[in-house]
């Protein structure tokens, strides 16, 4: 019910959604987020990761979310390798009995995925030059907002 996947090929969003839906009758809400490669002056991006550690960090983040909110299912699928503009780079889905937990947990997972999971992006600019993406302070600020909020409800 909690899944992490790294994909070297284009994400098939309808297939992911269909697979996620399932038949669990206790589920009353599903919130999904899809991150897309923006085309502001770039041609493509490449995503590098730390094999093993990336999967482990993402799994632990899902466990951490599941201690804060009563989740029924959660799934993170992230692209690795080269991606063109407008292609999905990440898909996060969370299912719970009611919407509040699903909204919050989905946002929590995305906020930590941006700054705590060992992925690094580089962009191919309009001049054909590769540049590493710098971390944005807003991303760290968003992750920091969760500190001390929605403390775990279980041990």
């Amino acid at each position: 019910m909690f899944e992490v996947e790294l994909s070297a090929t284009e994400l098939d969003l309808s297939a992911l959604n269909q697979r996620f839906m399932g038949t669990d009758e206790s589920i009353g809400a599903v919130v999904s987020f899809t991150g897309i490669v923006r085309g502001n002056g770039i041609q493509a991006i490449e995503v590098e990761h730390y094999p093993g550690m990336t999967e482990s960090v993402l799994s632990k983040k899902i466990e951490s979310a599941a201690k804060r909110w009563p989740l029924r299912k959660a799934s993170i699928v992230h692209r690795i390798g080269s991606l063109p503009v407008s292609e999905p780079i990440v898909w996060v889905s969370v299912a719970s009995a009611h919407r509040a937990a699903a909204f919050l947990a989905c946002e929590f997972l995305m906020d930590f995925l941006k700054v705590d999971a060992p992925f690094w992006k580089k962009e191919l600019d309009a001049n054909g030059v590769w540049k590493w993406v710098e971390v944005r302070s807003q991303d760290q600020d968003r992750a920091n907002r969760w500190m001390g909020r929605y403390a775990p409800t279980q041990a």
Partner: protein, 83 residues
Amino acid sequence: MNILLFAQLRDYYGASSVTFPDDELPLTVDELRSSLAGLGSEEFRQALLEPNVFCAVNQKVVEPKYIVQADDEVGFFPPMTGG
């Protein structure tokens, strides 16, 4: 031991891992980082010594005072930019 390098650090060093002599260990992460910095170019040295560089030992991010043993898996990397 083989120390793993990611993203900019790998580019500056020119390889995805560095062989570090086991007989110099154990060292703290800070000490290891300083020794490692001397093994590459000036660009690599500066990038590795940036205060925002992370060190993972056995795939967990650790503090600068953490003590690294010869059989640990060690990786250094810049701030993460997923999603």
